[in-house]
């Protein structure tokens, strides 16, 4: 099997598993809904500026919870099985793509839920969609790789937060700026270089992940 076919197989497996069990996606969905509701009852009146920050903070915590399971919850035996069959890059890339898709769905859900209770301040749908896409890719890349690191340790859920939050802050800052632009808070500024920078950070992290994962993988 070549690399591409391996990735497609693994993706198919992830999605099938998710579809059969459905507890992960429904758990995350409930998590997002209850967070949005808690935020709504504690804030009541949400200004566009606060909306923007809240959206990304909810996304951040939901993403960590959603992605954490990707390596941490794989059993040791199944890892061994993969190790004999597949190229490590195929495993990492398939997880990253699957998580990016999952986070995109999560982002859209958060957006719908938050708009439902707190109003929809987004003025430029195109640039907000771009921010959502770049955000879910960036979160997925960082969190997937960090979860691969944290899975090697014993107290992995604590480590996951400690290791990933500082690393993800640059991406988060750029995202908040980008979506503030689409809400109309930063009118007239140029977002071209921020999009470029976000894309560049994502690319660097993917490249590093691909180079480093084979070292992390063998036990």
């Amino acid at each position: 099997m070549n690399l591409f076919a391996q990735i497609m197989h693994l993706l198919h497996k992830e999605i099938t598993l998710e579809w059969r069990q459905r507890y992960a996606i429904s758990g995350i969905l409930l998590y997002v809904l209850s967070t949005v509701f808690i935020v709504y009852i504690s804030f009541q009146n949400i200004s566009p500026q606060v909306w923007n920050v809240l959206f990304w903070v909810i996304m951040l915590f939901a993403s960590v919870n959603a992605v954490m399971k990707s390596f941490v919850q794989e059993s040791g035996y199944r890892q061994l099985y993969y190790f004999q069959l597949l190229h490590p890059i195929a495993i990492l890339l398939s997880k990253m793509i699957y998580n990016a898709l999952l986070l995109l769905v999560l982002g859209v859900l958060t957006y719908v839920a938050l708009s439902f209770v707190a109003g929809n301040p987004v003025q430029e749908a195109g640039s907000f969609a771009l921010a959502l896409f770049l955000g879910s890719t960036g979160f997925s890349i960082t969190f997937t790789f960090v979860s691969a690191i944290a899975a090697k340790a014993d107290n992995s859920s604590t480590l996951m937060a400690i290791l990933s939050f500082p690393v993800v802050i640059p991406i988060l800052l750029l995202l908040v700026n980008l979506s503030a632009h689409s809400i109309g808070l930063l009118g007239g500024t140029d977002i071209g270089d921020k999009i470029m920078l976000l894309g560049a950070v994502d690319l660097i992290l993917v490249a590093l992940g691909l180079v480093l994962f084979p070292f992390l993988w063998r036990d």
Partner: protein, 349 residues
């Protein structure tokens, strides 16, 4: 001489401390009262000098109010009170070289003993009627000529910085030394992944430790400097925030190390994380601060180092300070490395 670099490091730092702390600042002007004058009147301005010697050759003391390079008005008479205080009398013309009611002027004092010193935008003058052509003519009667240079080794005087300009030899070089040390640590992490020898991991750990220490020192010296110049220890400046995050990342490196029992696994995973963290540190410290406004020099319209903030006398201390701090860091790293080697040997037997 096996330990020449340790001696060099100590000598460079001693030189930095002695030369950097003992060299006096150039003469400066810290204040002028009253700072708001009225056109068309004869007014007396009391000037407070810093490191100044007004009483030396006081008959040769000269003063101007200037705007740009061409427009200037010389003081009619100067009365020296003491070395630090002088009273300047200006015969202000009725019109200013401007279209508006108010204009800011720079105060310039020149003396053979102290050289020329300025108070940028320190005096503002109000006028009743506007006549720019006449004003320009009135203000070009007494041009500035034959300024003196102070003949001594001094550091520049900057109005807000004052004596804190010496922190340039501690805050900034510590940062650069930190970066050099972190690059070294990443190199050893890469070497560990390539070769798998436990000593490379110990070296990477020791250097990361030192880098974290230098980073914290840089943060503290920066905060103290910020208290004096910006008014607060922490001003939510973008570079301060990014740096705090960078310190969190490296703190996480040590938490990660502590959570493994198996030394081989610990070395491998922490080497991987170190490389990953370093790659995210570069946009954090060098790219994002450039995109946003910052209070630091070189961002948001502030003057960068290398233009007029860092003159040649300061360079003579600044560059040795970088090398000195890096060498001292290397030395501390070597001590940490040795103790780590001993601990591992004890645990093995």
């Amino acid at each position: 001489m096996k330990y020449w670099w340790k001696i060099l490091g100590v000598l460079l730092l001693t030189y930095t401390f002695v030369f950097g702390l003992l060299t006096p600042l150039k003469t400066g002007i810290t204040g002028a009262t009253p700072y708001s004058l009225k056109a068309g009147q004869t007014q007396v301005v009391t000037v407070t000098g810093y490191n100044s010697f007004f009483t030396k050759e006081k008959e040769k003391l000269r003063a101007w109010l200037k705007s740009g390079n061409d427009l200037a008005l010389a003081a009619k008479s100067i009365e020296v009170v003491d070395d630090r205080t002088a009273k300047l009398t200006f015969d202000l013309p009725a019109h200013l070289p401007t279209n508006s009611k108010v204009k800011d002027f720079t105060l310039l004092i020149d003396s053979p003993a102290d050289g020329a010193s300025i108070l940028p935008g320190g005096i503002s003058i109000t006028q009743d009627s506007v006549n720019q052509a006449l004003g320009s003519q009135l203000w070009s009667q007494s041009p500035i000529a034959e300024l003196h240079e102070k003949q001594a080794i001094t550091f520049p005087f900057r109005n807000i910085l004052g004596e804190t300009i010496r922190n340039t030899y501690y805050h900034v070089p510590m940062w650069m030394a930190m970066f050099i040390i972190f690059i070294g640590a990443v190199t050893f992490s890469i070497k560990y992944l390539a070769k798998g020898e436990a000593d490379f991991d110990r070296k990477a750990m020791a250097l990361t430790n030192v880098g974290l220490m230098l980073g914290l020192l840089g943060l503290v010296t920066g905060a103290i400097w910020a208290k004096h110049t910006w008014g607060k220890y922490w001003s939510w400046d973008v570079k301060q925030n990014m740096t705090a995050i960078a310190m969190l990342i490296y703190g996480a490196y040590f938490v990660l190390r502590a959570s493994f029992d198996d030394p081989e696994k610990k070395a491998r995973v922490s080497a991987v994380f170190n490389i990953f963290a370093f790659a995210s540190l570069v946009p954090l410290i060098y790219i994002i601060p450039k995109l946003t406004d910052s209070l630091h020099p070189g961002a948001g319209g502030n003057i960068a180092f290398g233009s007029e903030d860092l003159d040649n006398t300061m360079r003579m201390v600044f560059y040795p300070a970088i090398i000195g701090w890096a060498l001292l860091g290397l030395w501390i790293g070597q001590v940490i490395l040795r103790s780590a080697r001993l601990r591992d040997r004890l645990l093995d037997t």
